[in-house]
């Protein structure tokens, strides 16, 4: 009798383990640092893309506007894909676009902007990638939406597509 109970308990235990592991298989095994709650934009200093002058984030994010921070590079292929959405967003009055040029060559980046149009009102240099890390970025391209209270309210990992573009429009309107 005792053995029977023991067998049932062991059976249940293995079944439980099986269910847990089986369900676990369905989860993606690559972790992405999603934004769980809105986060204050940390203060930073960076160099301007064209003039190479040091600028403080306080001066860049001074208007009572929404801001879109986009990390991009001329060597990044997905950045070309999302670029048309950025150009479209530039036409919206309620949002300003700030570009962070990630580990790029100045000439290539300048050519990229000339070829595809410059959607940014301000571009910052991130030669060694440290600025992106300070912002909590994961790679290129990556986009953050900052609200009027200077809080990061949305993070888009990877290129902007039609779906995320609509989401951004919804936020700023």
């Amino acid at each position: 009798m005792k053995n029977k109970y023991l067998l049932i308990i062991i059976g249940f235990f293995f079944f439980f383990c099986f269910i847990v592991l089986f369900e676990g298989l369905k989860n993606p095994n690559v972790y992405k640092p999603k934004l769980q709650k809105e986060k204050s934009l940390s203060q930073f200093e960076a160099r301007d893309f064209y003039s190479n002058k040091r600028i403080s984030s306080l001066d860049i994010f001074s208007d009572n506007n929404f801001y879109l921070i986009n990390i991009w590079a001329s060597w990044c292929i997905p950045c070309r894909v999302e670029h048309s959405y950025l150009v479209k967003l530039k036409k919206q009055n309620s949002i300003k676009l700030v570009g962070i040029n990630y580990k790029d060559n100045f000439e290539n980046a300048r050519k990229f902007l000339n070829e595809f149009e410059n959607p940014y009102s301000e571009i910052l240099k991130d030669k060694d990638g440290t600025l992106s890390i300070q912002l909590g970025a994961y790679g290129v391209p990556e986009t953050f939406i900052v609200n009027k209270r200077k809080k990061i309210i949305k993070k888009i990992i990877g290129p902007i597509d039609q779906k995320t573009y609509n989401e951004v429009l919804k936020i700023i309107q």
């Binding site: 972790y31 769980q36 060694d128 990638g129 440290t130 992106s132 890390i133 300070q134 994961y138 790679g139």
Partner: protein
């Protein structure tokens, strides 16, 4: 001559102490790098990885150490940016009590079972 010898000793003493303090920083740096997970090549630490992300992360940690931040402050900063997953050592909190205490509970249970079996055998 004595003065030169004296200066030599002073010079070597200070140069060795400087390199010693540098070693100390490197040890701390490496300790932090080993506890940070590289998010690009997951499964590798920032110390092991040579991805762009890991290289930038190393620079940020170095900068923060130079600014005088402690190890815990650096972890807190990165946790705020990337979530707790960035750290290899899970912190002790409500979500991880089970993880931390399960081995101890299993150890005590195992010990109790062995003791019981032994006392049964003795009888």
């Amino acid at each position: 001559m004595k003065l030169i010898k004296f200066l030599f000793i002073i010079f070597f003493y200070f140069s060795s102490s400087i390199s010693f303090s540098n070693d100390k920083i490197t040890i701390l740096e490496n300790k932090i790098f080993k506890n940070l997970r590289c998010l690009i090549c997951q499964g590798q630490s920032v110390y092991d990885s040579q991805s762009e992300f890991a290289e930038s992360m190393k620079l940020v940690v170095r900068q923060k150490l130079e600014e005088g931040l402690s190890e815990k402050e650096i972890y807190d900063f990165l946790k705020n940016q990337y979530g707790e997953w960035i750290l290899y050592d899970p912190e002790l909190n409500v979500k991880t009590y089970f993880l931390w205490f399960l081995p101890i509970i299993l150890f005590i249970l195992g010990g109790a079972i062995i003791l019981r079996k032994l006392s049964v055998l003795k009888k």
